[in-house]
Amino acid sequence: MYPRDLKYTKDHEWINIKNETGKIGITEYAQQQLGDVVFVELPKIGQAIKRGEQFGSIESAKAVSDLYSPVSGEVLNVNEALIENPELVNKSPHETWIISIKLTELDEVKDLFDSINYEALLK
């Protein structure tokens, strides 16, 4: 269910880290809780964000949820496909990245959950 190559947070975000960049999305559990996603608020490219800081929000027809960054860094890119098709988050949450980030504090990675620990958290 939860891919091994992703890292996770207690806020139900995932990050896929390659070298010093990470792509960030929300988990299957999070999309289920939200229901049909109708809007994703994206940050500006180049924006610096700290770990745990809000970088955007995601709205379903019934609720609004803030997005928190799993790590500190600088926003490299945002997934503009989500402007027209926010429902991609529901369809394939673990493939649908929301932002990519250049990590500035590499030792933060060790504080993230792996898939086994994340699944344990959900139980």
């Binding site: 229901g35 049909d36 109708v38 809007f39 608020e41 929000s57 709205e59 379903s60 027809a61 019934k62 609004v64 402007i83 429902e87």
Partner: protein, 340 residues
């Protein structure tokens, strides 16, 4: 009634394109009977119930003496001297107590809270008639909008009314509680090949908002008048009197300070109930409902704003969780079903 059965979007689209089935048994029923029943209904409601023949229904308001809403209701004329009022669940106790008290001045008109005698199912959407017709000998085609009749559906005695809260064609079905489950299951089974889905409270809200139907507690409250809510068409001005008429007449003569408007977001974002409306740095109003609608795929909503901001095209800001987003006034309803 759950928020959703499958998903809000799927249920919403089902109602717009095929059909959805809602269990709205939580709605309250109050019946008014007696030789003075009509006078009693005329006193406590805003619309002109004398226009109703037996077998017809109308949208109306249960008004305070200030012309504000105790509730918005449907009034059914069951017989010459027998009316059924359908109230919002949250207002049923309050409304029944109010009606009972208001009826004390009549010698022969009395009210009974009959909510426990009815379950209420609503089948809504363009396929509603076809689906329902398979289960009844009543010729549904003869029931016009806002008319009703009695008869059997799948063997259960029902009252079937061509009404709803979605902006689509459809029927509301009053049935005894002990027959409700079978009726629900039979309807779902019969309608499944036509794409009928069970639908929950979440899609009920987005559907009614797309059709700009007011929701009690949001657009209409004990602090909003019928005129402010843009519902003058439910005021029976020709009636000699009804609760709140004088206040409403005075408000109509003068100038309305605020009005309910429909808006569409210009900037990306969704305004929600309770968000503040701004002109520059001045707070000028409040959003009563807002969503991203699954069918129109637009961020829309309704808000109370000063009358000078109520013209179509007027632009204001909505404080959306700290962000100032532009919105502009558009005509209502946002969605209107295609004519047959």
């Amino acid at each position: 009634m759950p928020m959703e059965y499958s998903s809000l979007t799927e249920e919403h689209i089902a109602v717009r394109t095929r059909a959805g089935l809602f269990d709205v048994s939580h709605m309250g029923e109050v019946e008014i009977a007696g030789s003075q029943a009509l006078q009693a209904v005329q006193k406590v409601t805003s619309n002109d119930a004398s226009k109703l023949e037996t077998g017809q229904a109308q949208y109306s308001a249960l008004t305070t003496h200030s012309g504000t809403f105790l509730d918005d209701i449907l009034v059914y004329r069951l017989a010459d001297t027998h009316f059924l009022l359908v109230l919002n669940a949250i207002n049923t106790e309050k409304g029944f107590a109010w009606i009972s008290k208001e009826l004390e001045v009549f010698d022969d008109a009395f009210a009974v809270n009959t909510s426990s005698r009815y379950a209420l199912l609503a089948i809504q959407g363009p396929q509603s008639e076809n689906i329902l017709q398979e289960l009844t000998t009543i010729d549904l085609n003869t029931i016009k909008y806002y008319e009703f009749t009695t008869g059997e559906i799948a063997g259960a005695r029902t009252t079937i009314s061509r009404t709803g809260y979605t902006g689509e064609d459809g029927f509301e079905i009053f049935v005894a509680p002990q027959s409700a489950q079978l009726a629900w299951e039979t309807l779902l089974k019969t309608g499944s090949s036509a794409g009928l889905l069970p639908a929950g409270l979440a899609s009920r809200d987005t559907l009614r908002l797309e059709s700009s139907m007011r929701l009690y507690g949001n657009e209409i409250t004990e602090d909003t008048t019928i005129l402010e809510a843009g519902l003058e068409w439910i005021i029976g001005w020709n009636k000699p009197s009804f609760n709140g008429k004088e206040v409403l007449a005075k408000q109509k003569e003068g100038k309305l300070n605020r009005k309910l408007v429909g808006f569409e977001m210009i900037d990306r974002g969704i305004a929600r109930h309770g968000y503040d409306v701004y002109d520059k740095d001045e707070k000028i109003g409040m959003v009563t409902s807002g969503t991203q609608t699954p069918f129109l795929k637009k961020a829309i909503g309704m808000a109370y704003v000063p009358t000078e901001w109520s013209e179509i095209g007027a632009t204001f800001f909505i404080n959306t969780r700290g962000r100032r987003l532009r919105a502009h006034v558009v005509g209502m309803p946002f969605y209107r079903k295609a004519k047959d």
